[in-house]
Every structure is written in structure tokens, then in C-alpha cells.
């Protein structure tokens, strides 16, 4: 693993955020509670030279994971060529996380996408609205309890049933 990562980044983050690193095959990730996210972002950008936020997504661990969502941030440093991951566990009933738009402007559309797909609010975001689905859509599609929404295939055993209900082309 990169010397910068092992000698500078991991000890600093471990100490200042009181979070243990999870290392898997040269990938480093830290689990940080939502209250300390802004502090972690400031630390990464100003002191440790992680000037790029590569990605911001979320994972849904329904039904068995507690807490339900993890918001995942991937930070990258161009000067040192190292990447680090920060995971923020979020419970379903308090699905709010501070927004990183003030620190990393590229977080703007990523946070809109996470709001659209998972329903996790970002406090402090200037314009939090849907980005992939139509603006008046109800529901958050990438949650695990959202139905697939597919059209049922018409086999021979349910042919008549589907034939009665299937959508016809409008004239």
C-alpha cells in the first residue's frame, strides 16, 4: 500500500475521528457517524490533500442491516494518487446527513441522485429535488423494498389472464 496512506492518512484519521480503518486488499475505508462528517470532510480536503470527491452513493441493507442505509463517499488525492472511502451509517427514521456541497461542489448532483433513489435528505443542500425520475414521482426506486415495476411476461399458462389486462396501443 502507498506510504502516504499508511504513514499519514490512516493514523491521522484514526486519531482525529476515533474510527478504526477497515482495510481490504489496499482499499481503506472509515465508518464515521453523521455528526462528524463535516469535520472529516474538512480534514480530508484541507489537511490531507484529498481534493476530489470521486463518488457519493448509498447502500440499502434492508431487511437485516442495522442501520438501514450507508452513505458511501470516495475521496481521491491527485497529488499523492491515493483514494480513501468514508461510510456514514444512517437509520431509516432519521435519514438525514449534512451536505458536502460547501466543501466539494461536485457533491451537488450526487446528493440529488441519492435523495431521488434512496430518500436520504441532505441538510444544507441548495436545491434538493429529483434528478433521474420525473419531478412528481412518488417513492424511492433503489430501496430494496421498492417493487421492480416490470411488465409481466405472457406465457401460455397465463395467456388469457394477461390478454384481458394488457395495455393496448392508443390510437
Amino acid at each position: 500500500m502507498d506510504a502516504y496512506l499508511t504513514d499519514v492518512v490512516i493514523p491521522t484519521l484514526q486519531q482525529r475521528l476515533a474510527a478504526a480503518p477497515q482495510i481490504f486488499r489496499d482499499e481503506v475505508s472509515f465508518v464515521v457517524p453523521p455528526e462528524r462528517l463535516l469535520e472529516a470532510a474538512r480534514l480530508l480536503r484541507d489537511e490531507l490533500d484529498f481534493d476530489a470527491l470521486l463518488d457519493l452513493t448509498a447502500v440499502d441493507y434492508w431487511p437485516d442491516g442495522q442501520p438501514r442505509f450507508h452513505v458511501v463517499y470516495q475521496f481521491y488525492s491527485y497529488t499523492h494518487n491515493v483514494a480513501v472511502r468514508v461510510r456514514v451509517p444512517v437509520a431509516e427514521d432519521a435519514a438525514e446527513v449534512p451536505s458536502l456541497v460547501a466543501w466539494y461542489p461536485s457533491a451537488n448532483w450526487y446528493e440529488r441522485e441519492v435523495w431521488d433513489m434512496f430518500g436520504i435528505r441532505f441538510t444544507g443542500h441548495p436545491d434538493l429535488r429529483r434528478i433521474l425520475m420525473p419531478y412528481d414521482w412518488v417513492g424511492h426506486p433503489l430501496r430494496k423494498d421498492y417493487p421492480l415495476g416490470y411488465e409481466e411476461p405472457q406465457f401460455t399458462f397465463n395467456f388469457d389472464d394477461i390478454e384481458r389486462r394488457k395495455p393496448r396501443p392508443r390510437a
Binding site: 420525473p134 426506486p141 421498492y146 421492480l148 415495476g149 416490470y150 411488465e151 392508443r170
Partner: protein, 161 residues
């Protein structure tokens, strides 16, 4: 079919007015530039010099719906794009036709989910469906010729009841 024959050497053809109108409509049908996804590449290939579509009067694709007769929906239409598609169809002037090019425009294709329209005929009336993923340029041209055959059989002057 109307009576069409040349009278001697004078270069006169007789036909019916409906046949003449249909003939004129098919020979200069301008498509609306509506390539949404991968089928657009095949539409471009059909338009280019190897499989020339300007043989059929479609010299260029008009970006403006006011100036086009034919909408070739090439590619999948998402739920967010559907109202836009309908609005462009409404802005086209009569007479207008729609070709659903490819599997995604005809029936949703491989994308059987909440975000993609299962066939563009949920929002606009379609005249010809061209199957394929993506359809080869020859298949698209066959679809255009099928549309021409359909238009030749129309009755544009008949009074609607």
C-alpha cells in the same frame, strides 16, 4: 389502384387525386431528428452514404417538429422523457406518421422496469414497428418502405363521418 398510363408520346399520366397526393407524400417525407439511444447510430448509418436514405426523399433530418412529417423514435423512452415526446408529436403538423424503431421503442426491449416506457405506443400512435436491437439499416429502410406502402393505401380526401 387508379388508372395510370401514358397517352401515346405526349407524356401525360392519368391517375386519381388521392393517388397523386399519396405519391407526393411518400416521396418527400421528412423525418424528425429523434435519436435517443443506440438505435440512433443505426439511423445515422441508414442516413449515411452506404445505405442512403435520401433515395426515399429523406435527404436530411429536420430538428424542428413543425417542419417534419415522420417521427422515427429510435431508442428507449424513459418516463421522464415521455411528456417531452408527446409534446413534440403534438407540435408536428398533419399529416404525420410515427415509426417505432428498435425493440425498446416497440415494447420496452430488454428494459422491463419502472423507469422505461414499455413501448412508445403508450404515448403516441405508432404506424410501423421495426424490430431489432438495433435494427440493421436495411431493416429500417424496409420499415420505411412498409410505411410508404401504408401511406399509398390511405384516403386523404375522404370526408370523415
Amino acid at each position: 389502384m387508379g388508372v395510370e398510363h401514358k397517352l401515346g408520346e405526349m407524356g401525360i399520366v392519368t391517375t386519381t387525386l388521392e393517388q397523386a397526393v399519396n405519391w407526393a407524400r411518400t416521396r418527400a417525407m421528412w423525418p424528425l431528428l429523434f435519436g435517443l439511444a443506440c438505435c440512433a447510430i443505426e439511423m445515422m448509418a441508414a442516413q449515411a452514404s452506404h445505405y442512403d436514405m435520401s433515395r426515399f426523399g429523406m435527404e436530411l433530418m429536420r430538428p424542428s417538429p413543425r417542419q417534419s412529417d415522420l417521427m422515427i423514435v429510435a431508442g428507449r423512452v424513459t418516463r421522464k422523457m415521455a411528456p417531452v415526446l408527446r409534446r413534440l408529436y403534438d407540435q408536428m403538423v398533419e399529416p404525420k406518421w410515427v415509426i417505432a424503431m428498435g425493440d425498446c421503442a416497440s415494447c420496452g426491449g430488454v428494459f422491463n422496469n419502472y423507469a422505461v416506457l414499455q413501448g412508445v405506443d403508450e404515448v403516441v400512435p405508432v404506424d410501423v414497428y421495426v424490430a431489432g436491437c438495433p435494427p440493421r439499416p436495411e431493416q429500417l429502410i424496409h420499415g420505411v418502405l412498409t410505411l410508404h406502402a401504408k401511406v399509398m393505401k390511405e384516403h386523404p380526401l375522404r370526408q370523415r363521418a
